[in-house]
């Protein structure tokens, strides 16, 4: 059987990745939102010092990384459904992938280049 070219690996693996990342986003986002309500970091120093804690960095990183995985699968689904020309779809897929990988690199740099 000849498989159609979709632009990425297809199957239940990505489906599961989307579900798992969704749950991580909901949990990490919920904890961060609660922390925001409790700490109320409305000036630079409380805001900045909140990001010094390792658990905070890990949680924010986990949130953004999960968002990127989740967005990658979602955007792939949308592109497969609405962009019919193969070359255009693959190009957009690559573009989306680049943006999301750069986002993870970027947030890592933001979090781990903070000076105390």
């Amino acid at each position: 059987m000849k498989r159609p070219v979709t632009g990425s690996h297809s199957g239940t693996g990505w489906w599961l990745a989307q579900r798992v990342s969704a749950v991580v986003i909901l949990l990490a986002g919920g904890v961060l939102l609660a922390a925001y309500w409790v700490a109320a970091p409305f000036d630079f120093f409380t805001w900045h010092s909140a990001f010094q804690a390792t658990w905070m960095k890990l949680l924010v990183w986990l949130l953004v990384a999960s968002l990127c995985i989740h967005a990658w699968v979602g955007l792939r689904d949308v592109l497969m459904d609405y962009v019919k020309p193969l070359v255009l779809r693959l190009a957009l897929n690559v573009l989306v992938t680049l943006v999301l990988v750069m986002s993870v690199v970027w947030v890592s740099m933001i979090l781990w280049s903070l000076h105390g």
Binding site: F45, G74, L75, V107, I110
Partner: protein, 144 residues
Amino acid sequence: MFTVATKVYTRDSINNSILIVIKRPVYLNLFRLHLPLLGWVSILHRVTGVLLFFVLPAGLHVLQLSLSSPTGFIKAAAILNNPPGRLISVMVIGSLAYHAFAGLRHLAMDVHWGVEKSRARISARWVMIVSGLVTVLAAWSLFG
């Protein structure tokens, strides 16, 4: 403009008998198709998801700015505080809320909870109501 369904006669390739194929018109004008509630919940989940993807780099930029220095923090606050910033914030909060609630509904259905049509309609309505409420509250607190 409407096209009537037409009959086309062809021959079956296997036993050469006459086949009647009814060609129906394909009418996909999205502005005239009536989308049911469940369809709206589905398409909005996609629209908000794509929107949030586009906002992600801007969000990271504001985060970086806010953590760079006390002046950067003030600049970041100013970006979020001017009218376009507030409008985008309301849209992002609304989209996040909608996408999260519609996503929770999906996760529930993944474990076969609320899959029957009647319950699916009820949960779809709740997704609309709750996320609409969050959006109104966000707009109220940012513009009120």
